[in-house]
Symmetry: C2
């Protein structure tokens, strides 16, 4: 098997021969939120965030996080979210600091990280994937590494698995890879232009989850007797979704995305003790979507590890979606400008 | 593999040498509703109702169906439920008639079947298992066969799988068996006396289900990518539940029953298209149970292929169950008189 590969090994390998000193005062990076159509659910390596299955997402145009990084004059790390400095005992602070540990160099640099998000808190979107992708871009700018997108994707994955997808725009595949060091586990953009494709956010709740998606994933892998089927199901779903994307087949893609999300939730519901992210209103909204389909509407949903629905539909259904769900925050993730910037 | 075994073969084998003529005017049979703690979900033989996994249930004292059978003077079958004669084009009529086809003998007898149920329609309890068990008992009385309980259980299974459990009282195991003719697939009573054990019905809806449990089961077996894990999960759950029953361990039994039910629902949720029997209020009720457990209460639930919860708890929790859920219809299925009659 060989020795265990650590995050530090991976960073050393990627940054070999590159600058360990900042080349400018401040590095700035931006990255968008992504929503998976084929979900990432379960790790084969917890330290490297190596997944058990490949996944597919679309990014939400405009829903970006911006990160600014500079060397701290105060001799200790500072993390400032929307002008609020995080207390040192906060889990989010710890997670960022442990990530920064990978980039301090021989001098043991300390950093000031400032984050601004265009994602309204009321959007019900987890933005940690976008945050880590933006942080990697900011570090790349600060140190002048000029890494390739693939290298950025691998580094982003070390912070948050799905962050590797937020390095790109539009439809993005994260290939699981097989290597123990994860050097083959990164995202790539599909460059699919499909202007009619829409994603609409249905907000059920913005309350903080009782169980975060990371511990939820681990609990499911460890205790759900149905989980063992998931990786093969997801790989097959992904292949079919790629064909549906290629053929611009909304019925096939939407149906697969919905079934894939429900399969993921099914593995959680079967965990012991059970894990249910749905609220009563989540069920009402799902039933409303199914009723629309009974009436011939091409409207589908996906649900992440939370209570909110993300609707998937072609632009022709936008009016009826608004009629049924009221104002939904709507995105066109696969227009030419959104996909290929 | 040999030829396919039909229901007719099984009936011939069991009734060999027994009377094919009624020995009295009318046969009367009664049988109770049963609620599974380890669910029957999926068939290995659709005609013989042979299950893919063994299951465990308790019967609900007083929730009985009574069947009266006599030879019809009218030359055709009549099925009368609570004084209402079923139309010939109703599915329930067809199902009973096809079952009666197995018992007509050389004379091609036609029957009048009258059913009365002590199960209020508003209880949200499916009573077809109790109905077929009662019908078998009524036929046994009409023809004077004097079959053993095991033989009655096998014949009841031919009408409705879980009917084989309703031949007995109290805690009952249906062993899946392995034989192609199903002669080893029957129920047996465990004779567990546990006076503190309670089951409470939480009624969410009595509306007729959009998908019955029989087609729901078949759809799940055929399309759910998670189903293949179910039979092994259920067999293991059953062994653990038997140990928990033996040890009168409410926490273990309740937790296993709840997880087993959720695992069954998870296989449906992952079916394609998905199958969700829950209503929004089902989710609220589940969350209420989990909140009670957070407060140290030993209250658990099971859910059949429908929206209603059946709570499982020791008698000490009866008061707090009423406080949280209002009046629930409560049963003591494992008292001496309920288990061993």
């Amino acid at each position: 098997m060989g020795p265990r590969v650590t995050r530090r090994h991976v960073v050393q390998q990627i940054l070999r021969g590159r600058s360990k000193e900042p080349v400018r005062e401040q590095g700035i990076g931006r990255a968008p939120v992504n929503i998976a159509l084929c979900k990432y659910w379960g790790k084969r390596d917890a330290e490297l965030n190596l997944p058990r299955n490949s996944s597919l997402s679309v990014t939400l145009p405009g829903m970006e996080v911006e990160m600014r990084v500079e060397v701290s004059g105060e001799g200790r790390d500072e993390v400032v979210l929307e002008d609020n400095r995080l207390p040192q005992d906060e889990a989010a602070f710890q997670r960022v600091v442990e990530y920064l540990d990978l980039f301090r160099g021989a001098k043991g640099l300390r950093f000031r990280v400032e984050s601004r998000s265009a994602v309204p808190p009321a959007a019900g979107l987890a933005s940690s994937a976008a945050a880590f992708a933006a942080l990697v871009r900011a570090l790349d700018a600060l140190f002048g590494w000029e890494l390739t997108p693939r290298e950025l994707s691998i580094l982003a994955r070390l912070g948050s698995g799905s962050a590797c997808r937020s390095i790109f725009q539009g439809a993005v595949v994260w290939q699981a890879g097989r290597r123990r060091d994860g050097m083959d586990s990164f995202a790539r953009p599909l460059n699919i232009v499909w202007p009619e494709f829409r994603m609409g956010l249905v907000l059920i709740s913005t309350a903080e989850k009782a169980v975060g998606s990371r511990p939820g994933m681990n609990h499911t892998v460890e205790t759900s007797p149905l989980y063992s089927r998931w990786p093969a199901v997801a790989e097959q779903d992904l292949q079919r979704m790629l064909a549906a994307l290629e053929g611009r087949d909304m019925g096939a893609l939407g149906g697969l995305a919905e079934s894939n999300a429900l399969c993921m939730h099914a593995t959680m519901i079967a965990a012991r003790p059970p894990l249910l992210y749905w609220e009563p209103k989540t069920v009402s909204a799902m039933k409303r979507v199914w009723a629309m389909r009974q009436e011939g509407r091409r409207v589908y949903f996906t649900i992440d590890a939370g209570p909110n629905l993300k609707l998937i539909y072609p632009v022709e259904e936008a009016r009826v979606v608004r009629e049924v769900f009221g104002e939904v925050r709507e995105f066109a993730p696969l227009t030419e400008s959104a996909s290929c910037s």
